[in-house]
Symmetry: C2
Subunit: 210 residues, 2 copies
Amino acid sequence: MTSTEPQATPPARRRGRRPAGEDTRSALLAAAGEVFVEQGYDGATVRAIATRAGVDAAMVNHWFGGKEGLFAKAVLQLPFDPQQTVAALLAGDRADLAERIVRTFLTIWDTNEGGRFTALVRSMTSHDAAAQALRNFFQHMIFERIIGQLGIDQSDLRASLCASQLLGLGLVRYVLRFEPLASSDVDTVVAAIAPTLQRYLTEPIAPAAG
Amino acid sequence: MTSTEPQATPPARRRGRRPAGEDTRSALLAAAGEVFVEQGYDGATVRAIATRAGVDAAMVNHWFGGKEGLFAKAVLQLPFDPQQTVAALLAGDRADLAERIVRTFLTIWDTNEGGRFTALVRSMTSHDAAAQALRNFFQHMIFERIIGQLGIDQSDLRASLCASQLLGLGLVRYVLRFEPLASSDVDTVVAAIAPTLQRYLTEPIAPAAG
DNA sequence: GACTGCTTTCAACGCCCGATGAACAACAGG
DNA sequence: CCTGTTGTTCATCGGGCGTTGAAAGCAGTC
């Protein structure tokens, strides 16, 4: 209530360009990654992301053209090269192939980079681009290529079976957090899931009276 | 401001009680079932449900107290008694137990009643009540009871593993519609998935080095 | 036939969303 | 210094959401 002094506005950040050095764009990307993981595409609001990044919501439009563009840059990008990953997975003994796959994805999924997958899974039921990205990744980029290299029948069916188990695992472990699977260590999960994948990859799966 | 003439309203549908016989409540329940299946909890709007039912959106509040109550009545109710289902599943040969489970759920899922599961799966990533209902159903009501009757170790882990594969299957087959798994006939899917469940139910799943 | 109560529609409220455009401040180049 | 450019905030827009209260009309009762 001190009337004579007009200088009572240091806390509120003033308008105009910031004093350089602070990177609004990457702050938004980081905040978007977190919020999309926690809330999914629909649940995450542009305002919440901007608040967490400490900037105005209009910056999302300025830097990314809108919410959709931010999602594409923050979530819809692969954290690694799928072709190279597939090659690395196929490099070892085929008896351990499924184990390597499960371990690889659990490891990725547990890192910060793997948060993208959680964000995708959380968004897939409401956001078409997320669902399409998941299908394209798991089914076409990973499992069809692996199974194609194995030279075995019913490659498409096998790919969607593998995708169903791996997506179900990600869903239960990272999104719905069913216990004890959500807290089990990697070795336990690998021991449990890998034989399933190994069977989907290489063993007969036809119905009895095909 | 009110310069325009108050023209006589064209009688689209008049106000007031309808000529009896038409059941607004069940029309809303049916429409809600459809829309929740197609859109999930967040995507489905009260207005869209009411429009499909051919009534006013306010009826949702009048008959169900709100969107949440309508969801509870239309989706969050089991179309059968789980205890009885578990008993029926356990009645036969244990070697075929997993096959019976997969076949039972595929059959239910393919009927109209099974649309509730699709609605739950579509809603689980954004709506807590849906996620909780799925966990309660698959993990506690079905698999923990079955595995408990089998008298085997790690029953909780086994239950969440079974849930992961069955939820992944439902997701891929009914929501994301990955081909060819989405269009495969029941026998093919049973032949592919049942051995996985059988292993989760009864065979050793511990990691190599304890 | 009037009264009473239930059902239904209508109009509107308050809220939050994503997006827009203008005002403004810091920088870069001369 | 002055000038143009670019990054930033602010105020606001248009729209959709779930919900609400009141008016309107049918149905049953006396």
